[in-house]
Symmetry: C2
Subunit: 329 residues, 2 copies
Amino acid sequence: MATIKDVANDAGVAVGTVSKVLNGHHVSAENKRKVEESVARLGYQMNYYARGLKTRYTYTVAVIVPDILTPFFACLVYYIEQELYRYGYRMFLCQSLHEAEKDSYYLQLARQNKVDGILGITFNTTQLSQAGDIPVVMIDRHLDNSVCVTSDNFHGGELAVQQLFARGSRKLLFIRSGSRLSSETLKRGDGFAAACREKQLSYEVMDSGDDACGFNGEGIGEYLQMHMTDGKLEFDGIYTSTDGLGLTVLEQMRRMNIRVPQDVQLIGHDGLRHLNRGAYLLSSIAQPVEDMARAGVETVIHLIRREPVQEMTVLPVTFVEGGTTRTME
Amino acid sequence: MATIKDVANDAGVAVGTVSKVLNGHHVSAENKRKVEESVARLGYQMNYYARGLKTRYTYTVAVIVPDILTPFFACLVYYIEQELYRYGYRMFLCQSLHEAEKDSYYLQLARQNKVDGILGITFNTTQLSQAGDIPVVMIDRHLDNSVCVTSDNFHGGELAVQQLFARGSRKLLFIRSGSRLSSETLKRGDGFAAACREKQLSYEVMDSGDDACGFNGEGIGEYLQMHMTDGKLEFDGIYTSTDGLGLTVLEQMRRMNIRVPQDVQLIGHDGLRHLNRGAYLLSSIAQPVEDMARAGVETVIHLIRREPVQEMTVLPVTFVEGGTTRTME
């Protein structure tokens, strides 16, 4: 098997130059080309473990999501993996599955230099406080002292009200699920309430319980049933904290023969598409998933390289039409 | 920082015993407990790289899927990650995104001992032939000389015909997408044709083109339009090679005011659920995703440990009702 000396001889450069190229440090374009050609020609392969011992870099990042079944997380991971690959990093994918144990496990790995950094969507504050100086970036969660990439949840709530209002709704309802995402869904609700007050619109807030997936269809059905007057729903515009919840609400309204969007307009939050690729499943406040993935990866790479980062990155949301809102009046 | 000797002293056992416990070899339950308690008490952490140099195991498996956006692959990865974790393995997730380059990259990593094995759903034969003695297990692809875990695609096609027939359909149509999955969708079609011939049913086969996702709605719409006689579709039962394709067909039939399942029954293939958790999106031949993940992980772990494995594991499919078929006659 070829050694680093063989490569240096073949390329006609010093061993140190070969080492620089292999470790991604700067050399002249000419030398870089020579070394890369020799590496390819001789089939030279770096000794990974020896390299690990020396630089303590593994070129791996652990990405922790609650689970990969949830379409929003699958979308995020779809973009994160591609972005990490672009930087030459491999991705450990870990599903915390609402268990703190796995978060701890990956923090442990980072402490043992088995991963260079963590990009997480699930830590609880207790776990994160144990992270020490390990590069950890949170996506869509703002915790004390953590570096965070998120989308503008407060404005998402405002935007939903503005869109419902501009399309003719006057009596609004916000439905949220009291999931682990509470800090975020609360912000969406805060934005919703602030915009309603600003427009002097009457509004109500319904908490559909702590079902993380928002599939508590019966509870929502009962609530809507209770707010029917003379066969008409008291609300003419509904905003839900997630698209999953929105689809559940849509299903309940169909069963009750409430016409959407003619009688009631509905806006969800996330921007989910049919099988993750097709049309939007409902009108929604879309999170900029690709930008969030890109910013998250960029931030964790900067932290790993001990470069300065922005502590909080907030990316803009947009309204997308998905058939559950009317055309603008 | 605590050393392995400190742990041995604290636990009152030999250094070799500590080493055995740390490497997952068998020792008495009593000694195992003692060592684990001392490891926890002293906060001992193994030197990963030194360990890597010695055993050449990284306790990582690379899982390669075409992409994680496709719900079926997300479901597979959902179960694979949990199963690998149960075995003490971490998962590199790689999306090949229909590019051979990334497959090569992970084969390269395996050759450099950076991953212990590969669980893949995407290799082309050329790539795989380069794998040498690297533990590689294919899920849902049967290539020459590869170890493979799959579900019974031929019987899936037969089962679709049996179910359509038992529920009253007599003139059948199979629609497939000519995607990279062609070897599999062809088998589904073979089973379909064999069952039709056995029952002496007339049938047709339509190829919707090489759109991997099966979203070629217009082409399918035109085809169905061409097969309308006196406002009625010539077929009363349709089987599609994937659920994605089935949903596209369903959408086209709705536009044409063809009633499903009253006029035409429809069966897809995969068993996709609403947001990956809820009701089935349509009646379907469901793949045993969880069992396939479990068998795939078990097989690659056996290969890594140089234990004997079954070269081909074929798991049974089942019919699931999702509202696009009538009740049994």
